[in-house]
Amino acid sequence: MARTLGSWWIKDGIDGRRIEAQGFASLLDGLSGFDWTEDHGDSDVLEKDFVETPNWTERVDNVDAVMMSSHGNPNSFSVWNGSVSTSDTVKFGKSDLEIFATHACSLLEHTPTNSVGRWIPAFDRLHYMFGFHTSSYSGGGQNPRGTYFAMYAAWLHAVLPFFPQYTLRESWKKANILVEGSDVEWAYLRCTGTDANGNPADTYNETLDPAEPRDPTANRSFWTARGSC
């Protein structure tokens, strides 16, 4: 079964945000083993896509990997009808989601007074949350961020088998070094552990492949890293 992809974007007058999110899913959609099945923009980006809502399947969990372009701050990211915050009940990966990547500014800020651990409750079976410790930019060549993330995470290795595949964490770092100035800091939060049967589900060197990886659902701990672009 193919890995499925989603793009969520709020333009707010800036079309680059749509290009950024769709670029991730559309590049991979051309590969066998990947299907772009969810694409939602502007007024179709709803809080209930992300937050547990009775009698509703959160659409973000219909896919394995999501690229989202909307605004943010350390405690929330924007949706059309509000925001999704650390005080909401979010269970990424409840059905499927393993990778959530967002351009939202400062979402993964990690400081002594506001630990990025505030996002841990959003990890059900989620593996990686990718974002920024600082603000991220628009308007200076950032539109292909999602395309380059997909290219290094999976596409290049898929079309050129002799190209050594980047891990997910390295591909997020590289995509952002390519599109951002060096005063921006990329960041991620990842879950690692074992699956329910005690098999290792170590996400450190996880790559984006057509095959589903094991989910870290037991013996969990979390790693966060950030660095300058």
């Binding site: 707010d12 500014c105 930019y137 628009s138 980047y166 390295e170 100035g181 921006v184 790693w223």
Partner: protein, 322 residues
């Protein structure tokens, strides 16, 4: 309707704009010009035999030990020893000379001054030998990736440093050059008490002849981009407060995969929008033009990225430079 300065809560001073600014022609080093440097990088990183393939954005030379990427648009170069990433079990690295400092914004691990000096010197020597560093260096630093290991309840179990990046940044005519296309980086890992370089990224176009463009007073210059930013206008009209925390004048270097024939001035802007009718508040960061298209036309300077484009500074078909 366009914003005025009265619509903005400016937490930083208005920058000084000189009456004129030189706009430099820039060019991308050819693959032939880059070739000796690429070979040196390949040898230093011990990448072995590489196979080449031309993609839309770059020539990729790859083998099982890593790759070199040459970006046609800028002459930029990325090189990686892929074997380095397969080692280790997590992000933490055991640097021997490390210190942690804390300021109002948080904690940060840095290398000690002696290791920092040595690392910069080694990186500079390697890059200069390969012709992969510009003459217009303004600063040189070493940044460490900042790493923390948390329990399932979010309690910090361990923290430390990861990979090191030696960073060279650029300035021209006293103005910093910002954006993704103005940096030279070398990535390094600790190894047996020493340091091993595991990759590099160099993106800096060669400066050519300057042409002078006339700048407007700062209030007018902000009308070119920032004050007509469609998103900020919409939020202000809905009653949100727009706060600017950073407003720098800089030259903007576009990413390595984009064509750029002139180094031009831009505003680098950061700020936040308050909660309000349109939704919760958020932070933002944008680049905006500092000179209108007409100023470039008057100086006989043309480029698709010099047009007025609601998306910011990026080429867009329908937007003409006028």
């Amino acid at each position: 309707m366009a914003l005025t300065l009265k619509d903005i809560d400016l937490k930083t001073g208005l920058p000084d704009l000189p009456p004129t600014i030189p706009v430099f022609e820039v060019s991308a080093p050819t693959l032939e010009e880059r070739q000796p440097g690429l070979e040196q990088l390949r040898d230093h990183l011990r990448l072995g035999e590489l196979r080449s393939i031309q993609l839309d954005h770059a020539l990729i030379m790859a083998g099982e030990r890593g790759e070199i990427e040459y970006f046609y648009a800028s002459g930029g170069v990325w090189a990686r020893d892929a074997t380095a990433s397969r080692e280790g079990t997590n992000e933490l690295r055991r640097w021997t000379d490390i210190q942690e400092s804390e300021n109002g914004e948080g904690r940060r691990f840095t290398l000690g001054p002696e290791t920092t000096r040595r690392l910069i010197s080694q990186a500079r020597e390697l890059l200069q030998g390969a012709g992969l560093i510009g003459r217009e260096i303004a600063s040189e630093t070493v940044d460490l990736d900042q790493v923390a290991h948390l329990t399932a309840k979010g309690k910090e179990r361990e923290r430390g440093a990861g990979q090191a990046t030696v960073k060279f940044s650029y300035a021209v005519e006293g103005l910093p050059v910002r954006g993704a296309g103005a940096k030279t980086l070398m990535f390094a890992e600790p190894e047996n008490g020493s340091v091993r370089f595991t990759g590099a990224f160099h993106t800096w176009r060669i400066l050519g002849t300057p042409r002078t463009i006339t700048m407007s007073p700062i209030e007018k210059a902000l009308e070119v981009g920032l004050l007509i930013d469609p998103e900020l206008v919409a939020y202000r009209e809905a009653g949100h407060k727009i706060v600017i925390t950073r407003l720098d004048v800089a030259y903007l270097a576009l990413p390595a995969f984009m064509r750029q024939s002139h180094l031009f001035p831009a505003f680098q802007v950061e700020g936040h929008v308050s909660d309000g009718k349109k939704g919760p508040g958020f932070r933002f960061a944008r680049y905006h033009h500092a000179a209108p298209p007409a100023a470039y036309v008057a100086a006989d300077v043309y480029g698709s990225y010099l047009s007025v484009n609601p998306d910011g500074i990026a080429p867009a078909g329908p937007h003409r430079q006028r």
